[in-house]
Amino acid sequence: MSTQAETGAPLLEVSRLEVHHGQLRALQDISLSVYPGQVYAIIGANGAGKSTLLRTIAGLHRPTTGTVVLDGTDVTRLRTDRRATRGIVMVPEGRRLFGSLTVEENLQVGATYARSGPWTIERVYELFGWMRERRHQRTAQLSGGEQQSVAIGRALVANPRVLLLDELSLGLAPVVVQRIYAMLPQILETGLTVLLVEQDVSQALQVASRVHCLLEGRTTLEGEPGDLTPDRVEAAYFGLGHADGHGDGAMAGTDPGGGDGGQPVPSAGPPADESEG
C-alpha cells in the first residue's frame, strides 16, 4: 500500500549522499525522499550515522558527494542558517538551548529570521501549557523534558517546512518521551513534515509513516512500518545475516500478510541479494 502523499513531488530529497569525518566514511550512498506531511524516521544503532545524516541535511556537515534538495531547489552548498530560513530547521541532539537566555528569549531567537507561517511564540505557549508562566526563567532551571519542549518550540517558531528532530528521547524518562511524541499530531496538523532520528525503535515505528534503517553508514531497510515485521527490522538494525535489500523495490511486491518477512536467518547458502554486490 502506498500513501496518497507519495504521488506528489518529494519535499526533501537526499540523493547518493556520502559523508566523511576525516578519513572515516560515516555515510555511504544514502538516498531518501520525504513527502509532504510525512513523519519519516531514521533508525539505527549507535554510530550508524543517523545524526550525521540529519546534521548533513541541516548543513552542519559537508557531504563528499551527493545532494540535498528541498522542494526542487538544491541546497547542498547552502550554509546552515540559510537552510533554516528556507525551511530546514533542526532540533539538535542534546537540545542545545541558549543557557544564559530565558525561555522566551530562546523562542525569540528562533523567531528572529522566521518564515511566515502558523507558528508564533503565542502558539508554542498554547501547545506547551506550562511554558507561558515560566517564560522568564533561564532554561538551565528547567527539567530535561521541559528543555526539550523549549528546543522544539524554538524550531517551530521558525515555521519550518521540514522539521528535523535529532534523538528527542535521549536522556529523558520514557513517560516524558511519550508525552513529547504525543504532541506530534498537533504539530503535523499545521502542515509540517517531520524527519526524525530515533534510537528507540518501537517509538519510531509508532509515530512514523516511513522508516529508514541505517547500519554502519549504509541503508539496510526502508519501508512503511506496517509492511515491516519485527524480525526484519531487527535484522536490519543489528545487521544479522542479510537483511532484505533497501529501496522501495524490495517492498513493492510485499503483500501485507507477506510470507517473506519472518524468515529465519539462513545459516548456510550463498547470499543472493543485491546488497552484497
Binding site: T80, D81, A84, R96, L97, Q108, A158
Partner: protein, 291 residues
C-alpha cells in the same frame, strides 16, 4: 587628606580603564577572540580624531561623532574578513593575527606620524580645570566626564544586550554558535556587530585618553592594552560591570601606589592584578550565567 584624593582620582581613572576594557571583554565573551590589537586601535582612533580636527577644524567633541561610527564600521569589516578568517582556522590563529595587526598598526603610525607623542588639544576649559572640595581634594572635570561616559556606555551596552534583538542574538551566539545557526542566525554577521560595538567603545576610549593624556604609536600596547587586560582580569572575564570594578580597583591601586612613591604607580596596579590572578583567577565578579 592626600589619601582620600588619591582614592577619588583612582576611582575616576578606573572609568577610563573600564572604557578601554569593555570592548576587549565583549570580543572575548562573544567570539573568544583576545584582540591583542585592541590598544593600538584606540591609538588609531585618537590619531584619526587629531587628523579630522586638523583638517576640518570642527569642534573637538564632534570628532567623536565622526570617528566612533567610522571605527565601528571598520570593526565590523575587520571581523568579517581578517578575524573571521583567523577564527575559521582555530582559536590560536586569532592571537597571531591580532598580534600581527598590532605590529602593523604600530609601525604604520611610527612611519606616518613619527614617534612624537601628541595630545588632542581641546581648547576647552573643562579639560584643564578641576573643582575643589576643601583644600585637599581636587577633581579634574575631564576625568569626571570620562567616568560618567564610561558608566553611560556600560549602561547602554547592558540595555542593548539584554533588551534588543541584536543583543539577544549576540548572547545566543556567545552561548552556542551551532544552535544559533540552526535557528537561522548568521553568526558571522552577529560577530561583526559585536566587533563593531567593541571598536566603537575603544575609539571612544582612545579619543578620551588623547584628551586626558598623550598618545604615541606605542601607547596602545605599552599602556592601554595592558591596563585593559588588567581591568578585565581583575573584574572577571565576560562581565560587563566587572570591567568597571576592575578598572576602578586598578585605578585606585595605581593612585595609592603613587601616593606611597610616585614611581610605584604602575607597579602597584600590576601587584593587585597578580594578586587577583593568584587568589581569585575568575575575577572579582564571576559571570552571571554559570550553568
Amino acid at each position: 587628606m592626600g589619601w582620600v584624593n588619591a582614592i577619588i582620582q583612582g576611582v575616576l581613572t578606573g572609568g577610563l580603564y573600564a572604557l578601554f576594557a569593555c570592548g576587549l571583554s565583549l570580543m572575548f565573551g562573544v567570539m573568544k577572540v583576545v584582540n591583542l590589537a585592541h590598544g593600538d586601535l584606540a591609538v588609531v582612533a585618537g590619531y584619526v580624531a587629531i587628523g579630522v580636527i586638523t583638517v576640518t577644524h570642527i569642534p573637538v567633541l564632534w570628532s567623536f561623532v565622526i570617528v566612533v561610527p567610522v571605527m565601528a564600521i571598520f570593526g565590523y569589516v575587520l571581523q568579517r574578513t581578517l578575524i573571521q578568517g583567523a577564527l575559521d582556522r582555530g582559536p590560536l590563529t586569532t592571537l597571531i593575527v591580532t598580534f600581527g595587526l598590532s605590529v602593523v598598526i604600530e609601525n604604520a603610525l611610527l612611519q606616518f606620524f613619527t614617534a612624537n607623542s601628541r595630545a588632542i588639544g581641546t581648547g576647552l576649559a573643562l579639560v584643564r580645570e578641576s573643582f575643589h572640595i576643601g583644600s585637599q581634594i581636587q577633581i579634574p572635570y575631564l576625568l569626571l566626564v570620562i567616568f560618567a561616559v564610561a558608566v553611560i556606555v556600560l549602561l547602554g551596552l547592558q540595555y542593548f544586550l539584554s533588551g534588543s534583538k541584536y543583543g539577544r542574538l549576540i548572547r545566543a551566539v556567545a552561548d552556542d554558535q551551532e544552535a544559533a545557526q540552526l535557528a537561522g542566525v548568521d553568526y558571522r554577521h552577529v560577530f561583526g556587530i559585536a566587533a563593531g560595538i567593541a571598536f566603537g567603545t575603544v575609539a571612544l576610549a582612545g579619543i578620551s585618553y588623547g584628551m586626558y593624556s598623550q598618545l604615541d604609536p606605542t601607547t596602545g600596547t605599552d599602556t592601554i592594552l595592558l591596563f585593559a587586560f588588567a581591568a578585565v582580569v581583575i573584574g572577571g572575564l565576560g562581565s560587563l560591570w566587572g570591567t568597571l570594578l576592575g578598572g576602578v580597583v586598578l585605578g585606585v591601586a595605581q593612585q595609592i601606589g603613587a601616593q606611597i612613591n610616585i614611581s610605584d604607580e604602575v607597579l602597584a596596579g600590576y601587584i593587585v592584578f597578580l594578586a587577583v590572578l593568584v587568589l581569585r583567577p575568575q575575577g572579582l565578579t564571576t559571570r552571571r550565567s554559570q550553568s
